[in-house]
């Protein structure tokens, strides 16, 4: 594992003089907040407004009050641009930032495959080997913190809403109702 491997634990505590329990007992705090996660949280990508918004959705986590807004610019076949804004914890913010980095260029089927693969990762299931999760793999530690799964999924269920509202809106002229739980 190299230092920038998203699976490697954070080295941030080394030399800080402070020893987290995780260093003694193996509790996976550093596995939750991996270096790649903290990097996305500190410097979230995809915050800039889009020139054109074709679909958008608002996501809300009633457990913690976190909110995410996903806006999409769509070409005929694929996602041209993504903006993710909102207020959330480190996991939610990092997940939204990774979303903004990964999704542009994907077609709708690829978007849904990515969402499903990410869900598998968070549930501790096997991710299809052909699926490249990119930095999202760095959120694999969330699987060991069940209450944080919703934090990681919030941007993605919001993306799902935005895509579906657009697809259905085009197909039937009606907005999609209901939201799938992560």
């Amino acid at each position: 594992m190299s230092a920038d491997d998203p699976r490697s634990p954070s080295p941030r505590l080394a030399g800080s003089g402070f020893r987290f329990a995780s260093e003694q007992s193996g509790a996976p705090l550093d596995d939750l907040y991996r270096e790649v996660v903290l990097d996305h949280q500190r410097h979230p990508r995809g915050r800039e407004p889009l020139a054109r918004v074709d679909a958008s959705a608002h996501g809300f986590n009633p457990v913690c009050g976190d909110e995410v807004e996903v806006r999409l610019a769509l070409d005929a076949e694929s996602v041209a641009g993504v903006q993710v804004t909102g207020r959330g914890c480190a996991i939610c913010t990092a997940s939204g930032s990774m979303l903004a980095e990964l999704v542009p260029g994907l077609d709708v089927a690829e978007v849904f495959r990515l969402i499903e693969g990410f869900r598998d990762l968070l549930r501790g299931n096997e991710v299809p080997p052909e699926l490249d999760l990119g930095d999202l793999a760095g959120l694999g530690g969330v699987a060991r913190f069940p209450v944080r799964v919703k934090c990681a999924m919030l941007p993605w269920v919001t993306l799902e809403d935005a895509v579906r509202s657009h697809a259905i809106g085009h197909a039937a002229g009606v907005a999609r109702a209901g939201k799938e739980e992560p």
């Binding site: 402070f18 987290f20 329990a21 509790a27 907040y33 457990v63 480190a90 939610c92």
Partner: protein
């Protein structure tokens, strides 16, 4: 000074370390088995007492004793076990009446929790309300003292009004006075905010409400386990609280009411226990309080709660209050001096109960709580079932540390150390 509660308390907590009244918190911890746990290699520092407190051995033993020896249903058998179970259940009612200063045990309805008690008032007493009637609650209520009234408004066309919260985290009593009118039928208010810690002046509020003929409903979930209370002088018509925030079992709560008001409460649940005579097509109701308690209750829980009340009688609510006020003073002092936190609620420890909510502008409450948990410190992060108050504060969530009889200065120090660790952890 706690004249707000109609009860005089001697002694003052201060921000000085070591001045926490006469309770020996560390010795008390020995009675609470869960507090002996190690969490991620650290001593459990339990600062989520506003969500639920831990249970002393005496309570755990009483639950087990009930099931092992006296298990039977209540109020419906002549055998020895049934008599014992009924006696234990009714002892709980009598002990609660004495604890809150209600003259008659029939004034105590045993429910599942404070939420159910508040719903019972909103549905059972609210059944007499209709369009044109107004219910006044406040912006700082827990959802359990908001949603039942929202449901009543939906079902019966009642109008809701809300007392705003000032920037200091107190109720705006001048605005409250302006909301009151002959149309006001109910004033529902918390005695102590579960987010801000604010102790509301219930006797004053009740007096203002009664002047316009309104019924006063007090959510005592946070106040009853931490502040002396005297129902007879509180001025309330109804007082709701739960056992599990008072070192008792979950699944047991109480609605204490004036008898003449309780007589006006329509039964909300029908079934066994609450009836006198049943025909196929009609029934008559039992008397108070059984009329409002349908079905088999949490007998073991009720049987065990007096063992938690023993703890309060042993320590005294006055000394408990002094102890927790001393801790909150120390916590306010230490948290404020960190310099990076926004601390919510009144700054005067005398005006707040033993809890403190805060936010770090740079770290989300969930992330702070995660780091704290890693150090064995249990706090609550979230909206605390008070979303309207969160909006008023301009926050989506806060971290809340809340104290109990077994909390001490070391616990506050562990919290502060953990918050600084979170800063280092997430600092760029």
């Amino acid at each position: 000074m706690n004249a707000d509660l109609g009860v005089e308390i001697r002694g003052q907590g201060s921000g000085e370390r070591g001045d926490a009244g006469s309770l020996d918190a560390r010795a008390l911890r020995g009675r609470f088995p869960a507090l002996g746990r190690l969490i991620n290699g650290h001593r459990l520092v339990y600062l989520d007492n506003a969500a639920t407190t831990h249970k002393p051995l005496a309570v755990l033993d009483a639950i087990e004793r009930h099931y092992r020896l006296s298990n039977a249903n209540v109020h419906r058998g002549v055998h020895t076990l049934a008599e014992e179970a009924t006696a234990a259940y009714e002892t709980c009612r009598h002990r609660v009446a004495r604890f809150v200063g209600a003259a008659d045990a029939r004034q105590v309805v045993i429910t599942r929790n404070a939420t159910e008690a508040l719903n019972l008032v909103a549905r059972g007493w609210g059944a007499r309300l209709g369009p044109g009637d107004e219910v006044v609650t406040t912006e700082m209520e827990h959802h359990s003292n908001l949603v039942p009234w929202i449901m009543l408004a939906r079902e019966r066309g009642v109008t809701l009004r809300h007392v705003p919260v000032t920037d200091d985290g107190e109720l705006d009593l001048a605005a409250f006075a302006r909301l009151l009118s002959a149309r006001t039928r109910v004033v529902a208010v918390t005695a102590m905010s579960n987010v801000l810690g604010t102790i509301n002046p219930v006797p004053e509020i009740a007096e203002m409400a009664r002047r316009v003929g309104a019924v006063v409903v007090v959510d005592g979930a946070q106040s009853v386990p931490h502040l002396p209370v005297d129902f007879a002088t509180l001025g309330a018509d109804f007082l709701a609280f739960s056992a599990h925030k008072a070192y008792g079992p979950t699944g047991v709560g109480f609605l204490v009411g004036r008898l003449e008001r309780l007589e006006e409460v329509e039964p909300v649940w029908g079934g066994g226990e609450m009836i006198r005579e049943v025909h196929l097509d009609r029934a008559t109701w039992n008397g108070l309080p059984h009329r409002l308690e349908a079905g088999t209750p949490n007998i073991a829980g009720a049987a065990a709660f007096p063992s938690a009340l023993d703890l309060f009688e042993e320590l005294g609510l006055g000394p408990v209050r002094v102890h927790e006020q001393g801790l909150v003073a120390y916590a306010l002092d230490r948290l404020s001096s960190l310099g990076f936190l926004r601390v919510h609620g009144p700054l005067d420890p005398a005006r707040r109960g033993g809890l403190v909510s805060f936010t770090d502008p740079d770290i989300h409450p969930h992330d702070q709580a995660q780091v704290l948990d890693n150090l064995g410190v249990a706090v609550r992060a979230g909206h605390h079932c008070a979303q309207p108050l969160m909006r008023r504060l301009g926050e989506t969530a806060t971290v809340r540390a809340s104290f109990g009889v077994y909390s001490d200065h070391d616990d506050v120090d562990a919290l502060v150390d953990g918050l600084m660790a979170a800063r280092r952890y997430f600092g760029s």
